[in-house]
Amino acid sequence: MNIEISNGRVICPKNGVDRDNASVYIAHGRIVGLGEAPKGFVATQKVDASGCVVSPGLIDLGARLNSIEAELAAAVAGGVTSVVVPPDADPPLDEPELADRRVHRGEEIGKARVLPLGALTLGLKGERLAELAGLKKAGCVAFSQASRPVVDTEALLRAMEYAATFGFAVWLQPQDHWLSRSGIAHEGEVASRLGLAGIPVAAETIAVGSIIQLVRDTGCRVHLTRISSAAGMSLIQRAAKEGLPISCDVGIHHLLLTENDIGYFNPHARFVPPLRAQGDRQALSDVAAAGGAAICSDHTPVGADDKLLPFGEAKPGATGLEVLLPLTLKWAEAAGVSLPAALARITSAPAEILGVDGGSLAVGAPADICVFDPQASWQLAPEALRSRGKNSPWMGYMMTGKVMHTLVDGRIVYST
């Protein structure tokens, strides 16, 4: 099918394109023209994008797919065309066969692309290495422990050496096991006031420090996920400047919320890592604005009952796939970041971290596209979400930015 998306504001952050009233031409699952139709192009379908932005599809660096069908539908409804799935499913993704099955199930559903992260260690226990090469062959894009730290530093060193042997990337959420195991909130003013066991910033900086040293020693390419503190982020930026193969991302909620949003024990403000202080949020925002970190949804759907509990017993996390775009726009507006620069954080930056050729509208790129109305507003309500996870600190809020069409592989997989 040949598709022409016309009259939109076409933004491709990777190639510095920002053109009003331009058309994007799609054939055979790829972008074949931008602005001008290629010779002999006849559109079999036209999409009118008047008043809309035509952007590369969003690439979400962290989304849990508890019920894969509903969550992949949620992804494309949120303009997300590729989702990186952490391995902490039940059972953990530590065998090639499991990865294979997950990838095939994703293809069968045919909505967003599923990019699984394989377990770095068997059962995510941090002890024995999983079959990394086998997992890679089955479609895993990198290897991770999800949010479970490797306690044994020797096991981590060996895992990174082994991954470096094959040129595989390792994704780690930097959290010191000992300093984070009993805490439920940022060790700050709010936790002190509310009597919540604290997780100090050192839980992050100690882990970041160890990992940086191991990267220096092994040359392993490492992506650090869900950075929460100013101090942790500053260590990472310094290491990246030093030329080490390190990248990082930030969950969108950590760019907008702080420990103060816990209010009177709001379980929807419980996250791993925890929401930290205003100064931390500001530092993360500054780095993201300067292009030093990608942004992801950290989509974690949980059942309603899992949040109807006292703060410390409630499951952490929030639904994210369908709010990643509006919340990123909200952050950009507050932080004074231009629309193309904001879109880069959720399209080209994640593509670069993954080393895939998505996240771009260049001729020849896969036609993964998000068409959204940047002015349209809608209210976040449980029934507005396709995700099974209705858990959000933003429930009831107005969201600005509405996805109108999503294309994956040149197919329209979602339309409002």
Binding site: E189, S192, G198, G263, P267, L309, P310, F311
Partner: protein, 319 residues
């Protein structure tokens, strides 16, 4: 932010924390408690204020002392008191906290007295009652995790006012494991709200929460220095599980540095009073000579506690 303890007229409808309550409400509770002190001295120790009402004691965590004082207080108000030992019943069978609450609402409860191991649990219950349209049911927090124990905080204020009259001239020291203490948090908020100009916290760094200064508290690590010229000394219980391990090397070393001995107490004003929420660990945080000495007001605290709990229950149930 909406304060879940107050109704839309600004009256106390639940008592969840001493934080965020206006001084006028704290004073109203203390004044009401004073009027109930007389009831306790009568032959028939009863007033009919809660006649026909049902008070449910929901103790998700063990406690004999607090539960008993709430029970006595409710009975003196002529309420029907139902004690539920939940640690051994429904939640052990997998029922959630809010399922339990729904069931008890169906049994025509009027007031829940809640103790729970998780900070914030009474807030969850109060919010749930509002959501299901049962604003007629009240919640009194009898201790949640490390967060708050507001009736203990208020009975401490009652005790201080009884002996010292004017809050605005006092220096008050709170000594010990403040990190894990819901009593300390409730005391701190009540003291600062009632106008105490100097609240001190004394303890080793491992037992003090971070950013205590943001609560208006002066931190001391040296006991003698911290007690100097204080009018009130509030000792906290050191739980057994804190005595060994990474927080403290031993009960003995703790007592040598932070135990209240007659010698240490001499640093405070000669007429300083010594309080303790109980149960005491003699020889761990307090020397017997002090616990049984003339400056200790630990037993009067218990007596005042009944009047304060009567006051709280009658006020919330009346609003």
């Amino acid at each position: 932010m909406h304060n879940p303890q107050l109704n839309n007229k600004g009256e106390l409808t639940h008592l969840l924390s001493t934080e965020g309550l206006p001084a006028a409400i704290l004073t109203q509770i203390l004044d009401t408690a004073a009027s109930f002190m007389e009831v306790s001295s009568r032959d028939v120790k009863k007033v009919p204020l809660l006649r026909g009402k049902s008070v449910f004691n929901l103790f998700f965590e063990n406690s004999t002392r607090t539960r008993t004082t709430f029970e006595i207080a409710a009975k003196r108000l002529s309420a029907d008191v139902i004690n539920l030992d939940i640690t051994r019943s429904s939640t052990a069978k997998g029922e959630t906290l809010l399922d339990t609450i729904d069931n008890l609402c169906a049994m025509d409860a009027n007031l829940f007295v809640v103790r729970h191991a998780s900070s914030g649990a009474p807030y969850l219950i109060a919010e749930h009652l509002h959501k299901i349209g049962r604003d007629d049911i009240h919640v009194v927090n009898a201790g949640d995790g490390r967060h708050a124990h507001p009736t203990q905080g208020l009975l401490d204020m009652y005790t201080i006012r009884h002996y010292k009259k004017d809050f605005t001239q006092l220096r008050v020291a709170i000594v010990g494991d403040i990190l894990h203490s819901r009593v300390a948090r409730s005391d701190i908020h009540a003291l600062t709200t009632l106008g105490v100009p100097e609240v001190r916290a004394i303890g080793p760094e491992t037992l003090l929460p971070k950013y205590l200064d943001k609560l208006g508290v002066h931190v001391y690590h040296d006991m003698a220095e911290g007690l100097r010229d204080c009018d009130v000394v509030i000792m906290l219980r050191l739980q057994n599980e804190r005595m060994n391990g990474a927080l403290l090397p031993s009960a003995g070393e703790y007592f040598r540095h932070y135990g209240l001995t007659p010698h240490m107490l001499a640093m405070a004003k000669p007429d300083a009073i010594v309080m303790h929420p109980g149960p005491m660990n003699r020889g761990v945080e307090i020397h017997s000579a002090v616990a049984d000495g003339p400056q200790a007001v630990i037993l009067p605290q218990v007596t005042f506690g009944i009047a304060v709990r009567m006051a709280v229950m009658s006020i919330v149930a009346g609003n």
